[in-house]
Symmetry: C2
Amino acid sequence: MSQDDAGIDLETSLGYLLKEAASALRAAMEDVLRPLGMTITHYSCLELLAQRPGSSNSDLARGAFVTRQSMNVLLQTLERDGFVTRPSEAPVGKVLPTKLTPRGRRSLEQATAAVRSVEVRMLSGLSDADHAAALRILRSMVSSLRADPAADADAGSAVADRGGGLASGV
Amino acid sequence: MSQDDAGIDLETSLGYLLKEAASALRAAMEDVLRPLGMTITHYSCLELLAQRPGSSNSDLARGAFVTRQSMNVLLQTLERDGFVTRPSEAPVGKVLPTKLTPRGRRSLEQATAAVRSVEVRMLSGLSDADHAAALRILRSMVSSLRADPAADADAGSAVADRGGGLASGV
DNA sequence: CAACCTATGTCAGACTATTGACATGAGTCA
DNA sequence: TGACTCATGTCAATAGTCTGACATAGGTTG
């Protein structure tokens, strides 16, 4: 009774710890990407394009966990600076398939190395079993969080933008 | 060779998955806090104050994983709207100890219930052992990420703001 | 076929958070 | 005591993201 309705114990809350870990990861990535003149979303966009050439703006937004509006302004900058190319006319529908330029690919190589070092450091204290458990547990959390929250309440229309990650493309 | 320098496999990257989980958690929390007219940082601030009355602006910033500048403007709003109080003069040093008002406490109660429902949903697919493992693994990741990144390179001065969480206060 | 619904790309405005900078108080150490 | 270092609170400017809105393409359904 005393603990249950007195708030959320931040010391043992998995939600708080998840936010803390994500914050630490973000800070570490920003530290290594800043010298390259790159933000995290910037890097995410390039990495996504390397693995999925021809992705649409909306695809990239979902994969980088930002709105398609944010990704759109980023893509305009990246195109202006010669890191990506987009056709001026949509070959089909409204989708403008985006591709990396050689310059974008070179830029990504450095960033990937930097980000990999961060990920290696993050995993340095974990066994292989821990790593596997973390993947399984986090996937379960993502799946549960995305499950219909409106089992009894409303909040139905709020999952419009920024929904997916890149899992749905398999 | 083909996988090692071809990028980071987003499907199995723990870093990407961590970001995905944090994004899903953030979206879920925003969905339940929006009807209460509250942002996540807003809620975090209140929750921290409930557990640590008299915290300083900088303490709250670390606990909510934002800069003390961001927390400062938020505190000004919260004080103006009557959710918290701060003395006009620092009793000692420059620290202005902040406290919840009754109104702030009432507001927090609703938010806590909403956030707790999100956390319950997030944990719904996990066993107790999974929960314990997640806590241990995430703490290890946080600790490793905060460890000195400059074992061979520079990047030393970048960990100034937004460093801590609330772990250091024990 | 026509109406509907969903998804996409894009523009504009507002907001939140960040970086940078400054002055001040406290603790440390020679 | 005086110099140094560190942390805090705060102001200003910038950057990144979000919400809101609109037109359009494609698929679905009556």
